[in-house]
């Protein structure tokens, strides 16, 4: 698991300007994505996971929000936050590509699949039309679309939701990106179709050279596919580690609460655990741990000081990072299960 680091995000802060004041949607986030791994960002709506991905791509709408001074996003050593628009445009699609939640809105409804796919390929790989078409067929085959030649002639609305998501994946893979960002790629799909797409992504994982950043709220999906996971809450990192570390030994009260509040097929409980209260409104005035207002263990210190990410070692290895004051005394030591 110690592959080369491809993407390095350091102290990323993305703030939004609203009428009720500045909203720190992403507030000091650091993480690394390694070669050929699936890195999952998990969190509920409003936790900043989507903003994080848009910040990586430098796609924050300039009149609404901004990536703050001191933030750094490095792709193979190259700083992206201050890249000129034109160069960034080349990076998007060539080095980093993205899959969105709703494939219907990201495909142009009046163009055939062939047109959209080949144009993307031609633009980014600078090859001729025939070669691009051959590549398109090959890609559709790769993502498990039967009779790709026929499908190329069709319009997006003629495809089912699952097929459209496959086309989106094909399009995202068309230029052999270094990183593939998938924002809730299975949320809009039915359970049996979601299983197909996850299966496809697991197969692709071994066959493509790209690292995947997967953004989702569904811990079940995460467990299926992730190598490493970052749990976000209200714009901060709560916990960070391998999937074994997070699922077998969750240390942050938020992660523990999330896992306990999901009804499970393999267990039956009378009453589900629930995290009390609701997500707080984000503002710069907020002090201390963002989860303190809902945390059963919170004390005065939690409400005043933001806990750092304590780097811990547990039965599942190094690098289990937890942003919780309760971890302070365990800092640097082994923490058992």
């Amino acid at each position: 698991m110690d592959n080369k680091v491809i993407l390095e995000v350091n102290h990323l802060r993305t703030y939004f300007e609203t009428k009720s004041g500045v909203v720190p949607a992403v507030d000091d986030i650091s993480f690394q994505v390694r070669e050929k791994e699936v890195f999952c960002i998990v969190g509920e709506s409003g936790c900043g996971k989507t903003v994080t991905s848009l910040s990586i791509l430098n796609l924050i709408p300039p009149n609404a929000g901004k990536i703050m001074e001191g933030s750094s996003v490095k792709l193979e050593g190259k700083e992206l936050t201050n890249l000129p628009a034109k160069e960034m445009y080349d990076i998007r699609g060539n080095d980093i590509s993205m899959i969105f939640q709703d494939p219907m809105t990201s495909l142009n409804p009046v163009l055939t699949i062939e047109k959209q796919l080949t144009e993307t390929i031609m633009r980014h790989m600078r090859i001729k039309k025939n070669a691009a078409r051959a590549r398109a067929v090959e890609l559709l085959n790769k993502v498990g679309i039967p009779s790709p030649e026929m499908r190329l002639k069709e319009y997006p609305h003629e495809l089912s939701g699952g097929m459209r998501q496959r086309v989106m994946i094909a399009m995202a893979l068309s230029c052999d990106p270094r990183i593939l960002i998938a924002d809730e790629p299975t949320t809009a799909l039915d359970v049996t179709i979601q299983a197909q797409i996850l299966q496809l992504m697991l197969e692709l994982k071994d066959n493509i050279s790209a690292s995947v950043i997967m953004i989702t709220h569904d811990l079940g999906v995460v467990a299926d596919i992730a190598d490493r996971i970052m749990v976000m809450y209200a714009g901060n990192t709560m916990e960070y580690g391998t999937s074994w570390q997070l699922f077998k030994n969750p240390l942050h009260p938020y992660t523990q609460g999330l896992l306990a509040s999901i009804p499970r097929l393999d267990k039956r409980v009378e009453s589900l655990y629930s995290i009390k209260g609701t997500v707080p409104k984000l503002s710069l005035e907020m002090k201390g741990c963002k989860f303190a207002s809902r945390c059963p263990y919170a004390d005065d210190r939690c409400r005043k000081e933001i806990p750092p990410l304590f780097d811990l070692r547990d039965a599942y290895g190094d690098g289990h990072k937890v942003s919780c004051w309760r971890m302070e005394r365990k800092y640097g030591n082994d923490v058992g299960e």
Binding site: F16, T18, K19, S20, V23, A25, S45, G46, G48, K49, T50, V51, A64, D183, K276, G277, T278, K281, L282
Partner: protein, 301 residues
């Protein structure tokens, strides 16, 4: 569990308070609103406090240039232009508001009905609307006015009556989308009678674009009245309207050498119509629910 003592003291914000606050931030609309209010106050008060006489003819003084006695001069038959400007303004605004109101009163209920009921009634209403929409407004107005005869009332009724299809179409479209909301289905599920559903659930949620359309309709009715008057079939002299004052500019010598006869009315007309349109723009922005903060935050994902 949600009880947070500090939170409960926040004064309850209603939707309309939000709207007023949003509107206030729209500079152009606020300036326009001020201009329009001042104008209305002047039009109402001036005839009372000043001794204005738009009708009597000052013998031998026709085409007189502005002077101390007649600050905007005298028109082709010797009437005081300033007095006529004020009375004409009253007439133009009155016709604008009355016609738009009439159009809205016919069009909106028809649109609501056509939108809510999915039966033959809808088909009939929509076809009639289409028919009316395909009639060229000016020609129809000219035709009717020339048949029925010109008066303030006919002009009002004709403009209003020809203007309703726009409201009907708009209300219809809004209902179609509002109706899809689950709260309408919820209202049916609790047994709410149909009329109440339309009045309490559908209309309040469709009102924003209709309000905007209403302001635009006032503006366009003023223009239509002026056009009719300019063509000589609107408000007839000796009654004054901005339109029939501009009518004088049809004479080339007046257009070139006697601007005091038509310029004030033209400026007032353009200014008023522009103001109303800006107010409409401001309303549209203020009423747009996307302007609300919570929606924005939702979009952060």
């Amino acid at each position: 569990m949600f009880a947070d003592k500090k939170k409960t003291q926040i004064p309850k914000a209603s939707h309309w308070k939000d709207v007023v606050n949003n509107f206030r931030k729209h500079k152009l609309a606020m300036i326009s609103l001020t201009i329009l209010l001042v104008e209305i106050v002047l039009l109402v008060i001036l005839p009372i406090v000043m001794d204005l006489d738009p009708y009597s003819i000052q013998a031998g003084e026709f085409y007189a240039a502005p002077s101390a006695q007649h600050i905007l001069g005298v028109d082709d038959v010797g009437r005081d232009v300033f007095s006529r400007l004020i009375y004409g303004g009253r007439m133009s605004l009155l016709i604008g508001i009355a016609s738009a109101t009439l159009a809205a009163l016919i069009g909106i209920p028809l649109g609501l009905i056509a939108g809510y009921y999915e039966n033959g009634l809808r088909v009939v209403i929509l076809r009639v609307t289409d028919m009316f929409m395909s009639i060229p407004m000016m020609i129809a107005a000219m035709f009717i006015v020339s048949v029925v005869g010109t008066s303030m009332w006919t002009v009002m009724v004709v403009i209003g009556f020809l203007g309703w299809p726009g409201f009907c179409r708009l209300a219809y479209g809004r209902v179609l989308s509002v109706k899809e909301n689950e709260y309408v289905e919820a209202a049916r599920a609790i047994g709410t009678p149909t009329l109440q559903i339309i009045v309490k659930y559908i209309f309040p949620n469709s009102v924003a674009p209709l309000l905007v359309a209403y302001s635009m309709s006032v503006a366009s009715s003023i223009v239509t009245e002026s056009s009719l008057s300019f063509l000589g079939i609107g408000i007839q002299p000796p009654q004054a309207s901005w339109g029939n004052m501009i009518y004088l500019a049809q004479s080339l010598s007046t257009l070139s050498y006697r601007p005091w006869l038509w310029l004030p009315a033209s400026i007032c007309l353009v200014g008023t119509v522009l103001s109303i349109n800006f107010i409409g723009d401001g309303l549209r922005d203020a009423l747009d629910p996307k302007m609300k903060i919570w929606r924005k935050e939702e979009a952060y994902g």
